[in-house]
C-alpha cells in the first residue's frame, strides 16, 4: 500500500469507526480497490481544497472586497482560474486515471471462474477453460456452485461474466470495481486479493424486484486451500439417501435444483450439492442454518420479495423439516 493509502486507511478508520462492513470500498482487500481508494482520497483532498478556494474567492468578490476591481484583473481571474488551472489539473488527473487502466486490466495468472448472473442469484463454475476477450457465451462445464466464490490469495483470478436473462452487475467493493453481466456478451473482471477474508458482493445494476437481495460472498484463501475447496466441490453430495432426499425429488424441488448423486438434476436454480458448505443461502441473504432452509422453503417470497422460487408452504411441516435437515447435511 502506498503512503497516501496508509494515511487514508487510518483516516477512514478513525472517522468512520463502526461503519466498515465487508462490503465497503473504504476497507480494501484487493489491488484494484486499494489503488482506486488512494486515487479517491487524493482527489477528495484536491477537490476540497479547490472548493474552499473557489467559494472563498466568490465570497470575497461578493462581500469581502472594499471596492470593485478593474476589468483587467477580472479577465485575468477568468483566464487563470477558469482556463489554465483547470486545463492543467484535469490533464494531469486524466493521465493518472488512464495509466491506471492497462495495469488493472493485466492478464490473469490464476484460475478462471465463470459467473452467470441470473434473477436473482449467481451461478458459479470453477475450473472452466477460459479465454480472454469477448465471446458470446460462457464456457460450459467446470465445477458448479452458487452464490459463494472462492478465490486464491495472491493470484489474479479471472471472472468471466454473463447472464441468461437481464443485465446485472458484479460488485465486490473491497476487492475491485464492478463489471456488468450482459446477456449475449461475456465480460471479464480480474480480482487480485491482497489479504484473506470473506467479502460481500452485490448486484449493482437494477434487475427486478429482488435486485436488493442478489448478494454473494467472496472467500479469499491461500492457493492450496482453494485447490482443495474446488476438489471438494467437484465431489457428489455427502448424503444422498433418507427421507429428505426422497421428498426433495418427490415434491418437485428437483425440477429446478441439482444435487449431484441424486435424481435431482434441475438447472433453473442454484446447484445445492454442497449448499451447507456455503455461508449463506438465498444469495447472500440468510446464514446457512436448518431453520433458515425451512423458512425459505415455506415462503421464499416472504423472505426475499420478488424471488423466482415459489412458496412451498402447502407441504406438511414435517416434510419441510425433513428436506431442510437433509440440506443442512450437504456439506
Amino acid at each position: 500500500m502506498t503512503r497516501p493509502g496508509t494515511i487514508a486507511a487510518g483516516l477512514s478508520g478513525a472517522v468512520l469507526t463502526g461503519c466498515q462492513g465487508a462490503q465497503s470500498a473504504f476497507d480494501p482487500a484487493g489491488v484494484e480497490a486499494e489503488r482506486v481508494l488512494t486515487l479517491f482520497w487524493i482527489m477528495l483532498a484536491g477537490g476540497t481544497a479547490i472548493w474552499i478556494v473557489v467559494i472563498g474567492v466568490s465570497y470575497y468578490a461578493a462581500r469581502g472586497k472594499s471596492g470593485p476591481y478593474s476589468d483587467r484583473s477580472g479577465i485575468r481571474l477568468i483566464v487563470w482560474g477558469g482556463c489554465v488551472f483547470p486545463a492543467v489539473v484535469l490533464a494531469g488527473l486524466l493521465w493518472w486515471g488512464l495509466t491506471m487502466m492497462p495495469e488493472l486490466r493485466r492478464a490473469a495468472d490464476g484460475p478462471t471462474i465463470a459467473v452467470s448472473a441470473e434473477r436473482f442469484w449467481w451461478r458459479v463454475a470453477y475450473a472452466v477453460e477460459g479465454e480472454p476477450g469477448v465471446i458470446r457465451n460462457l464456457p460450459r462445464g467446470g465445477v458448479p456452485s452458487a452464490n459463494e466464490i472462492w478465490i486464491p490469495l495472491g493470484k489474479r483470478t479471472e471472472i468471466l461474466l454473463s447472464s441468461p436473462d437481464v443485465i446485472h452487475s458484479f460488485w465486490v467493493p473491497p476487492l475491485a470495481g464492478k463489471m456488468d453481466a450482459i446477456p449475449g456478451r461475456v465480460n471479464r473482471l480480474v480480482l487480485e486479493p491482497t489479504r484473506p477474508g470473506v467479502f460481500n458482493g452485490a448486484c449493482a445494476e437494477y434487475c427486478g424486484t429482488a435486485h436488493t437481495y442478489m448478494g454473494f460472498r467472496v472467500v479469499v484463501v491461500p492457493e492450496a486451500e482453494f485447490e482443495a475447496y474446488v476438489a471438494s466441490q467437484a465431489l457428489p453430495a455427502a448424503t444422498t439417501d433418507g427421507s429428505g432426499a426422497r421428498l426433495f425429488v418427490q415434491n418437485g424441488c428437483a425440477a429446478c435444483h441439482t444435487v449431484r448423486g441424486t435424481a435431482a438434476d434441475g438447472d433453473v436454480g442454484p446447484d445445492l450439492t454442497h449448499v451447507a458448505s456455503r455461508r449463506t443461502i438465498a444469495a447472500g441473504l440468510l446464514p446457512t442454518t436448518v431453520e433458515n432452509f425451512a423458512a425459505f422453503i415455506r415462503s421464499a417470497e416472504h423472505i426475499k420479495p420478488g424471488v423466482e422460487m415459489p412458496a412451498f408452504g402447502i407441504l406438511p411441516e414435517e416434510e419441510i423439516t425433513a428436506i431442510a435437515q437433509w440440506l443442512g447435511k450437504l456439506e
Partner: protein, 125 residues
C-alpha cells in the same frame, strides 16, 4: 473559408473548430471500436489504429491552428481588445473572431485530451 484574406464571420465559422473536435472524437472512437469489436484477442497490439488516430490528430490540430490563426489575425485587424459591445459591424466581427479564437483554443485542448488514450493503450484489453 479564406485563410489569409479578410472574411465575414458567422455562426458557422464560430463552430468550425469544435466541429473538428467532434469529427476527431467520433473518428477515434469508431475506429477503435471497430478494431476492437471482434475482441477475441484483447492483448494483441493495435499499432495501425493508433497510428491512424495519431495522423488524424495531427491534421485536426493543424486545421484548428489555421482557424485560430485566421481568427487571431482578423481580430487584430479589427482592433483587437476585449471590448466588442458596440453597435458596429466591426464590433460584431471582433466578437465573433475573438469567440472563434477561444473556441479554437478549447477545441485544441480537447483534441489533445482525446489523444492521450492513444498514448496509453496499446491493445484492446
Amino acid at each position: 473559408m479564406q485563410v489569409f484574406g479578410k472574411t465575414q464571420d458567422n455562426l458557422w465559422t464560430l463552430v468550425a473548430a469544435p466541429t473538428i473536435w467532434g469529427f476527431h472524437f467520433l473518428f477515434s472512437y469508431f475506429l477503435a471500436a471497430y478494431r476492437c469489436a471482434p475482441n477475441d484477442d484483447i492483448f494483441n497490439t493495435i499499432g495501425g489504429t493508433r497510428a491512424a488516430i495519431a495522423g488524424v490528430t495531427a491534421v485536426c490540430l493543424l486545421l484548428i491552428l489555421l482557424i485560430a490563426r485566421r481568427a487571431w489575425r482578423e481580430w487584430r485587424a479589427d482592433g483587437g481588445g476585449y471590448s466588442n459591445n458596440q453597435d458596429t459591424p466591426e464590433a460584431r466581427e471582433r466578437f465573433l473572431e475573438f469567440s472563434t479564437l477561444l473556441l479554437a483554443a478549447l477545441s485544441f485542448a480537447a483534441v489533445v485530451f482525446e489523444t492521450l488514450p492513444v498514448l496509453v493503450f496499446w491493445d484492446c484489453r
